[in-house]
Every structure is written in C-alpha cells, then in structure tokens.
C-alpha cells in the first residue's frame, strides 16, 4: 500500500516524461492524480499496518495532510488541462513531471515516521517545485526561483543539522541511535536537554523557513507571485502543510521530552509575528498574487499560534490544514484565471472582474470571504476554535493580537479585492482570448463547495480523524 502510494506518481512522472504531446500530458497527469486520491482514500478506510522497523506509519496527522494534499492535487491536475490549454506557447513537459515527482515526495512525507527520510522527502519537494516556479522563463521568474531555492535550501540544511543534533543526543544518551519518531519518543526522557533544545531551534527554523513563518517568509511573495496559479495553489495549499506536518512531528517529540513550553512559546511568538507581518504587507498590496502569498504567511502564522496554544486550539490547527489548503486552492486558481484574462496581476488594472468573468470573479470574491474566516466556510470553524480557545485559556493578549491582525488583514484584503471584482471593466483594459470554461472554473468551484460543506458540516469520520490527531498532540498530564 505504502509502496503504491509512492510509486504510482513516479510511474506517472515516467509516463508523462515519455509522452511527446503537450495536449495529452495534463490528462495523464489528472489520471494519475485520480489514482493517487483513490489509493489515499483506500488507505484512509483500511489503515495499513505499520511497516516492519516502523519506518512507515500512517497516523492521523499524516492522514489529514495526505488527504488535503491529494484532493488539492487532483483539483489542480484537472485545472491544468484547461489552464495549460491557454499556455500552449510553452511546453508543459517539466511542469507535469515535476508535479508528479513532487506528489510522490509529498506522499512520502506524510507516511514516514523516520525523521531523516521525511527530511529527504521534504527536500525533494523543494527541489522538484523549483522548475515549476520557473515556468514562465523570464527574468522575474528566474529571480523568484533563485530566492526560493536558496532560502529554502538553507532552511532545509538547518533542519538537517537539527536532525543531526537529535541523533547525536541519542548517541550521547547511550540509547539505540535512531531517528525513528517512535524510538525517539520512547527514550525522549533520557536525551540531554542541551542538544534537544538546540535541535528544536534548528528544526523550527528549518521547517519554519519551508513553511514561510515570518521573518523566514521572504521567498514567499516572490515565488507565489511569479509561479503559475496552480503551482501557487500547490505551494500554499500543499507544501506548506507538509512543512507543518514536519513541525507537528517535532512537536510530538517535544511533548515526549516534557520540555514543550519553550517550543510552544516560540511557535506563538513566530506565529503572531507572521500574522502582523501579513497584516502590514497586505495593506495597499499592488499585486494580487503577492497579496495571496502574504495571506499564506498569515495562515501559517495562525497554524503556528494554534499549535503553540495547545489544548482545543490543536483541533483548530489540524482542521485549518484542510480548510486553508482548499480555500487557497480556490483563491489561486481563480486568480490565475483573472490573471490570464486581464494579462496583468496589478490591482490597478484589474477592475470589474465580476462583469468580465462572472464565475472566476465570483469565486475569487467567495474565496476572499472564506479565507478571512467568515462563516459559513471552513476557515471560520478553525479560526473561531483557535480564537475562542485563546480566550478560554485566559490568554487575552494573544487573543487580542490575533484578532486585531485578523481584522487589519480583512480590511487590507477587502480594499484590494473588492475594487478588483466590482465596478465596470475599464475600457482601455487589454482583452485576451481567455474565457471561463468548465475546465478552468469547475475545479475551483468544486473546491469552494467542499470548503462550504466543511464549514457547515464535518462528517463523522473526518471528525474522529481530527480528534485522533489532536489526541496525538495532547499535552500529557
């Protein structure tokens, strides 16, 4: 089962590599994505047993992340059929292959319990995304790719040394040297706090960089801004969650070592900083894709704060993995359509999107409402859970800052998004061949419906999944 999950996308990559036709490739891509989702669901229904040696273990956290990633990936794959049709001018060879490799690595991250292996997989996703960001082949995109690659690599390198510290801690403690989560958690008590703390710091910085926590987020606006819509969607809806999963693993470890407080506080502080930074940079944002990037910074901040708060907020954080991922999909895909149609991502040029593209404009507006945490959409559930638990825990200041930055972000985003979608299309604005078609509008619409559904009703199995995940992250007493 595990093997299938990893291998299938790789086969897909191979196949798409061999296929010459640009028209056919996206279809193959969606086919394999569908297969991957199938396997995922199968694995959710009958959880495969932990592999001998415990390298592969499909626990609730992995399930949540894998589910959201797989769904998002399928949607993006289907969208790519319609989208790439408008990008016939360049070959999508690298794009499709890269996507599938990335999918394979991503699945590996979710199912492995060996931190080293997880790290390798994460690094692979980083690398495999680089050529995708460079899809547009121009000066700006190369710059974006460069920054993305260097900053993320440095981050991942730091994560690696963090892992080394952890390993060395086991050696120093004279326990069986291992990077298996299970083993580490077993003898966590024996590990020397000095190494462990250093390890935690480095891992936090490393995975935080990949996740885009401020002030390690600097690559995000550039990469998201220059990458095609669907790549942006996968970056902000998929890779972010993978990095967050890695942080969750570290968190589990901290819980085992009983030295959680420092890690939690660090998370809260960095999360709040991220939210404030997002609030500052979203105001007067002249480029709507960059705005979405900062929104992503905001949401990783939210997840970090939730993780730091612990308790009931954990549930919110886990649910936010799904909610944020899917909603970001809606936003990026629809913004991709708008970008295509206006051939500009400047908020000064894009006006009256609702008039020109009723569907995409509407989806973008709805996505905005959803991502800012308005009911009846899924992000409301998670954000409200987090805020309320902050106040219920009596941590008024955190709650207040959280809420304040959410409000500022809402205002900033509203002042950017509403003028874009409303009003009349400026007469001089450039007209392109783009039209809303079922292939370009259907996928984000499906995502939006999903987001809405999760906003009003969480199915029982998902509920149990989330609570199991939260149970894994409970502070032991």
């Amino acid at each position: 089962m595990f093997a299938a999950l990893i291998i299938l996308p790789l086969i897909g990559a191979a196949v798409t590599w061999l296929i010459p036709s640009d028209r056919l490739r996206p279809k193959i891509l969606s086919l394999f994505a569908l297969g991957h989702l199938g396997i995922t669901i199968r694995m959710l229904i009958v959880t495969p047993h932990e592999s001998p040696g415990g390298w592969f273990h499909f626990d609730a956290l992995g399930k949540i992340v894998l589910l959201s990633t797989s769904i998002l990936f399928l949607i993006c794959a289907i969208y790519s059929i319609g989208y790439l049709f408008y990008r016939r001018e360049r070959s999508n060879h690298v794009l499709c292959v890269g996507l599938l490799v990335c999918l394979s690595a991503a699945s590996l991250v979710t199912i492995t319990h060996h931190l080293g292996l997880m790290w390798v997989a994460l690094e692979t996703t980083t690398i495999s995304m680089a050529p995708l960001i460079y899809f547009n082949r121009n000066a700006r995109s190369i710059e974006a790719t460069w920054k993305y690659l260097l900053i993320c690599s440095v981050g991942v390198a730091l994560a690696l040394i963090g892992l080394y510290f952890l390993a060395y801690a086991t050696i120093v403690a004279r326990v069986e040297p291992s990077l298996l989560l299970g083993d580490l958690m077993l003898d966590a008590g024996k590990l020397s706090s000095g190494w462990v703390h250093a390890a935690f710091v480095f891992l936090l910085i490393g995975f935080g960089t990949k996740m885009g926590l401020a002030p390690l987020h600097t690559w995000k606006p550039d990469a998201y801004g220059e990458a095609p819509g669907l790549v942006g969607a996968l970056l902000s809806g998929g890779l972010v969650n993978l990095a967050f999963l890695a942080l969750l693993r570290v968190y589990q470890l901290c819980l085992a070592t009983r030295e959680i407080t420092f890690f939690q506080n660090a998370l809260v502080v960095m999360g709040l900083i991220s939210m404030i930074v997002a609030a500052i940079f979203m105001a007067r944002q002249a480029d709507f894709k960059r705005m979405l990037a900062y929104s992503s910074v905001e949401h990783v901040g939210i997840m970090a704060v939730a993780l730091g708060l612990g308790g009931r907020a954990i549930f919110g954080a886990l649910f936010h993995i799904l909610a944020n991922g899917l909603t970001k999909g809606v936003l990026f895909l629809s913004s991709g359509n708008i970008h295509r149609s206006y051939n500009s991502k400047s908020t000064d040029h894009v006006r009256g999107a609702l008039r020109r593209l009723p569907w995409s404009g509407g989806l973008f507006l709805a996505g905005f409402i959803a991502i800012t945490g308005s009911p009846p959409f899924a992000p409301f559930i998670s954000e409200f859970t987090i805020i309320s638990s902050a106040f219920i825990q009596g941590r008024m200041l955190i709650g207040a800052i959280f809420l304040l930055s959410l409000t500022i972000i809402f205002i900033g985003m509203a002042l950017t998004v509403l003028p874009m979608v409303m009003g009349e299309v400026p007469p001089h604005s450039e007209t392109t061949s783009y039209k809303d078609t079922i292939l370009t509008v259907g996928p984000p619409l499906a995502l939006l419906l999903l987001v809405f559904l999760l906003g009003v009703w969480i199915p029982a199995p998902l509920m149990t999944l989330l609570s199991d995940g939260a149970a894994l992250l409970e502070v032991p007493r």
């Binding site: 260097l150 936090l204 902050a390 219920i392 709650g399 009003g423 009703w457």
Partner: protein, 665 residues
C-alpha cells in the same frame, strides 16, 4: 389575540418553517432563464410565509413559554439549540412584516424585466437576509449565532452593492463591510468569553451570570461594540448613513426597519444573562442613547439626500430605543420596577413603531426616487400633486416619526417621558429627568427635519424638470405603505393593545407578578391617551365640516400664490431644503458642519456661478479616514522590509536563529 393556529399545530414549528421558506424563496429565480417568474415565486412564498409566521409569532408571544428545538449539526461546538421565547417572538414580528411588505414593493420597484442582471441576486439575498435574521432570533448556540449573524451581514452587503457600477455604492459597501466585520470580531471575543464563563457555547439562561465577576465588564463591552456597531449606536454609526442611502429602497427598509434591531436584540439578550447589573451599565447605555438621538437628528436636519436624511433619523430612533433600554437597566439596578417597566415598554414599543414608520418612509422614498429620478431633495418639489397617494402615506409616516399624536411614535416617547418623570418623587436617579428636555429637543429637531423633507419633496412647485411630471406608484408599491400607515394609526389610537403586545417580552427582564399591577396602571393611562386621540380626530373632523359648509356658502376662486408684490417668482426662488434647515443647522454649528463652496463674485455683472454646501460626516471624515491613511503611510514605509536583497533576507534567518538559540538556553 389567539391565531387560527390555536391547537392546530406547533406555532414555533410554523415560525421556523416560515423562516426557512423565506430563505429558499429566492433560489428558483437563480435558475430560471426567463426574468419575472422567479420574482413572482419568491414574493408569493415570502408573503405566504409571513402570513403564517406573524400569527405564529403572536401566539408564541402570548404563550409566555419557550419552545426549544435541537439542531443536529456536525460541528464540535456543543449542541445547537433553537429556542423561541417571547423576546424572540416579539422581534420576529417586524422581521416577517417588513420582509413581506418589502418583497411586494420590490415587484413594482425593481421589476425583473427591467433589471435582468441584478434582480435574481437581489431577490435571493433578500430572502437570505430575512431568514437569517429570523433564525438569528432563535439561535441559542454562540457559534451558530455568529454564523447566522455573518450570513445576515454578508447578504446585506451583497444587497447593498447591487448597483456596484456606481462609485459611491462601492464605497458605501466597503465602509459597511469593514464596520460589520469589526463588529463580528468583537462578537468573537464576546462568545468566547461567554464560553469561558459557562464552559460551553450554549448561551447562558437568563440571570445565570453574575455582573460582578471580573469578566462581566469585558463581556458587556464586547457585546456593546459588536451589537452596537450593527445597531448604529454612536459612535459606531459611521457606516449607517451611506449604506442605507445607497441600497435599493426596499432593502434600506429592511436594513433600517429590521436589521438594526438585530443589534438591539443582541444587547437585550446579553443583558438578560446577568443578574443585578451595576448602575454604570445603564448609565453608559443611557448616555450613548441620548447622544445618538441628539446627534443623529442634528445630522438628519442637515442632509440634502432624501435617503441619507432617513438613515440619520434611524440613528436618532435607535438612540431613543437605547435610551429607553438604559433607563430600564437603571431601573433593574436600582430595583425600581416602575422605571424598569416604563423604560422597557418604551424601548420595545419604539422598536415596533420604528419598524412600522421607517419602512413606510423608505418605501416611500423608493417611490419618490422612482418618480423624480434623483435623491437630491433640493431638486424636487410639488410631487404631492402628481402622486397624491404616496404623498398622503408619506405624510402619515413623517408625522409618526416625529412622535406626534395621534400616531404611534408618540406613544413610545410618551412612555419614556413618564419614565423620566417617574423619578421626581423618589430622589434616586433624579438626574434622569434632564433627559426629558433633551428628548423634547430631539422631537423638535425631528420636526424640522421632516417638515423639511416633506415640504421640499411633496409641496410647492417642482424645482427641476426631472421632478415636474411624477407618476403615481402602482398598487404593489402602495399596498405595503398603506399597511404600515394603518399600523401606525392603529398603535397610535389603541396604545393599550400595543402595551399588551410588549408586556410578554418585558417578562424576559422582570418578574411577572410585580408587573401585573404596573402594567394595569399604565394600561388605564393608555385608555385615556386613545380617548384623547379620538377626540383630536373628531375635533379635526368637526372643523373640517364647518369649513366645508362655509366653502359651500361662499365663492371659491383659484389664483397664483401671492408673491408679496414680487411678480416674477420662479420655482427656484422657493425655500429649498437646505435653506429651510440652514437656520437650525447654524444654531448647532460645530456639532454639524457644512462644507460650503461659495464663489467669489467679481465685477459689476458677475457671470453664472454656483454655490454648494454639503453636510460632512464628521467622525468618518475627520477621524477614521485620516487614521486609515496614516496607517497606510506607516505600512507603506514598513513595506521596505521586503526589499528584495537576498543577503539581508539571509540575515533575517540568521538573526532569528541566533535569538532563538539565546532564548532556548
């Protein structure tokens, strides 16, 4: 009082299903290709639902019991209860009434045929808004409450921006959205703290919380900000005028007539949670209330835009209601049942009244705009001759909103006055009686505002060609207005009935037993009041008869208005709206400032030129907008942190690492 539903089946179920029907009414229209049928379907559905819902609500009101349903939902926030108690039922009345009337009005005012693009969305969100408000009144789970609340706020936003091609509409929309979202943020705090107190998101039962706990003031403050922003209590009113002015008129009617009341409902509901609230709360509410009333009406006097004037007067009326609530709260705190009763009765009754005459006026303004094609009062005039029916109904509304007998506005203000005076005998809270002259002043100013409105719109001669040939509104537009006018007269002439209507809702605050005596006492006074009203009408009738008789005897001739020897009077020389209110505004200069652009005349024969004065939105234009732009500048400065210099980005990472290392060990 007992409806035909008596014993037939559960009225609560009827009310609930009515709400759901209203919510779904607009959906068919979204999918029908042909314009028209969708609107007809939704209107019929809404009216039928209201016809079922109003009696049901009445029955629930008088049943003095609470009906509870538990909604099965998949969200992890405790059980989702729907409860209809008398307080909810009371607020349900305007929801059903105004919604039905508005949707009927829309058939004539916003016909699907003429507005193919906008009509389906408008109809859909209209239904959604109405039903969300109805369900809001039943929600007893904090999270569910917030969800419904936000649905209400958002659908109101989409209704408001129906004509989003217009710049001012978009601006109004953004201001509204920001205001309401900020309010919602406050509600997040509010419900979280409530949950922290009770341990679950299910709203606490009446009187279960102590107002002395350290959290209580925070909760109260959060509720005041969150709900007050929706109700438009000063200083949280900034969104209100532009929003109500720019929405389609039947939407303005619902927003002003019902949606504002939802904010008040929230405050009412919140206050029921606490036992023995401190005097401070009542004092704050009272002060905010009376200042909203005064400032609101001063703003109204200065307006030139027909609907803005009405919107500002909404602030005034909300202020009056809040004052009543504050007085009632003071009564609760000082264990003074009379004060409590009068304040509460006045507030609740005024809520009902305002949801009669304000929709009447907004619908009327819709008809006017339909006829004159402008909202600028200085361009209208003489519409009364072209549209006499609208003119008459609008007059009824104007008289009612000024709180003049024999119409309903007077009754609620009368109760409030009694409340203020009731403190004369006891020496406690004696300073309440300074509210009486203030309220009187408010009444006087209201009269300035509405004589200005009525005079410059309906009376005299047309001031612009646009207003020269008005057409009478159709039946579908007149019928709802007539309904409201009738209700105004009914409440005005039979106040004792109205008092019976509010007393069950008061029970939410007040032990039933002690209330019986008080309410009986004031019931008697109400009888006298209605007697006076009848006398007034008869006197008027007699005078009219006398005059008709004299007119019959003598010669009647028609001639142009005497120009006081000034032969070439033109329509432009009439006293316009701005001129009419100029004197009053000058008295309150400083509170209300007009932005005046006067041309400088040069030479012996100065050429054509123009002079304009526009009332300014002090709080918004002097404080909030500058604040925002300042924040924008600061943020713009901070944007330089993202300067694109790679090595500095690396520095960020390095520094973070360093700090964390130091922090860790």
């Amino acid at each position: 009082m007992h409806s035909f539903l008596q014993g037939a089946f559960d009225p609560a179920l009827v009310a609930l299903s009515a709400a759901l029907v209203i919510g779904c009414a607009g959906i068919p229209g979204l999918f029908l290709r042909k314009p028209g049928p969708g609107q007809i379907i939704s209107t019929t559905a809404i009216i039928l639902a209201a016809l079922a819902g109003v009696p049901a609500a009445l029955q629930l009101l008088f049943s003095h019991t609470a009906t509870t349903y538990t909604l099965e939902w998949g969200l992890p926030f405790g059980s989702c209860e729907l409860v209809i108690d008398p307080l909810s039922a009371f607020f349900l009345l305007p929801v059903f009434l105004v919604t039905a009337a508005g949707s009927l009005f829309a058939v004539g005012y916003w016909p699907a045929a003429g507005h193919r693009t906008t009509e389906p969305g408008l109809t859909f969100f209209y239904g959604l808004l109405a039903s969300s408000m109805a369900i809001l009144l039943m929600a007893r789970n904090g999270v569910f409450f917030v969800m419904v609340w936000e649905v209400m706020a958002l659908s109101a936003y989409f209704l408001l921006v129906t004509e989003h091609e217009r710049e001012d509409v978009r601006r109004a929309g953004i201001v509204y959205l920001i205001a309401t979202h900020t309010g919602t943020a406050a509600l997040f705090v509010y419900f979280s703290l409530l949950a922290a107190q009770t341990g679950s998101f299910v709203l606490p039962v009446a009187g279960s919380l102590s107002a002395l706990s350290p959290f209580a003031p925070v909760i109260a403050l959060a509720a005041f900000v969150g709900f007050g922003a929706k109700a438009g209590i000063m200083p949280l009113h900034t969104w209100l005028p532009s929003a109500h002015a720019n929405a389609p008129s039947h939407v303005s009617a619902v927003m002003s007539g019902v949606m504002l009341k939802m904010g008040l409902y929230g405050i009412f509901r919140t206050l029921t949670f606490f036992h023995d609230p401190p005097l401070l709360w009542g004092g704050v509410l009272t002060v905010c209330g009376i200042s909203s009333a005064l400032l609101g009406i001063i703003f109204a006097v200065a307006q030139r835009d027909l609907k803005r004037l009405l919107a500002c007067s909404s602030i005034e009326n909300i202020g009056i209601i809040t004052t009543g609530l504050g007085v009632a709260l003071l009564g609760v705190s000082s264990h003074n049942s009379v004060l409590m009763y009068l304040g509460m009765a006045g507030a609740l009754l005024h809520i009902l009244n305002h949801s009669f005459f304000k929709p009447l006026l907004f619908l009327g303004s819709g008809a006017i705009i339909h006829a004159a094609g402008t909202r600028e009062m200085n361009l209208m005039g003489g519409l009364g001759k072209g549209m006499p029916r609208v003119g008459f109904l609008f007059l009824v509304g104007s008289v009612a909103i000024c709180g003049i007998p024999p119409l309903n506005g007077f009754v609620s203000e009368f109760l409030l006055y009694l409340g203020f005076f009731s403190q004369l005998k006891t020496n406690s809270l004696i300073y309440l009686l300074f509210l009486a002259p203030l309220l009187a002043l408010v009444g006087g100013l209201a009269m300035v505002a509405f004589t200005k409105l009525y005079g410059s719109v309906f009376l005299g001669t047309p001031r612009s060609p646009a207003a020269a040939y008005p057409h009478e509104a159709g039946m579908t537009m007149l019928a709802p207005m007539a309904l409201f006018a009738l209700l105004c007269l009914l409440v005005g002439l039979a106040p004792q009935l109205a008092l019976r209507l509010v007393s069950p809702a008061i029970a939410a605050f007040f032990p039933q037993s002690a209330m019986a005596a008080v309410s009986a006492e004031y019931g008697a006074i109400m009888d006298k009041l209605s007697l006076a009203g009848v006398l007034l009408l008869t006197a008027a009738a007699l005078a009219a008869l006398l005059w008709r008789w004299r007119l019959g005897q003598a010669r009647v001739t028609a001639a142009p208005t005497w120009g006081c020897g000034y032969q070439r009077g033109t329509a432009r020389m009439q006293y316009g709206g701005t001129a009419f209110s100029e004197l009053a505004v000058s008295v309150f200069d400083g509170i209300m400032r007009q932005r005046v652009e006067r041309p400088t005349l040069t030479g012996l024969f100065p050429g054509k030129t123009r002079c304009s004065d526009t009332p300014t939105e002090t709080l918004l234009e002097r404080i909030i907008v500058p604040m925002f732009s300042l924040a924008g500048i600061i943020f713009g400065f901070l944007h330089r942190l993202q300067h694109g210099l790679m090595h500095i980005y690396m520095l960020y990472i390095f520094v973070t690492l360093f700090i964390l290392m130091l922090w860790a060990n």
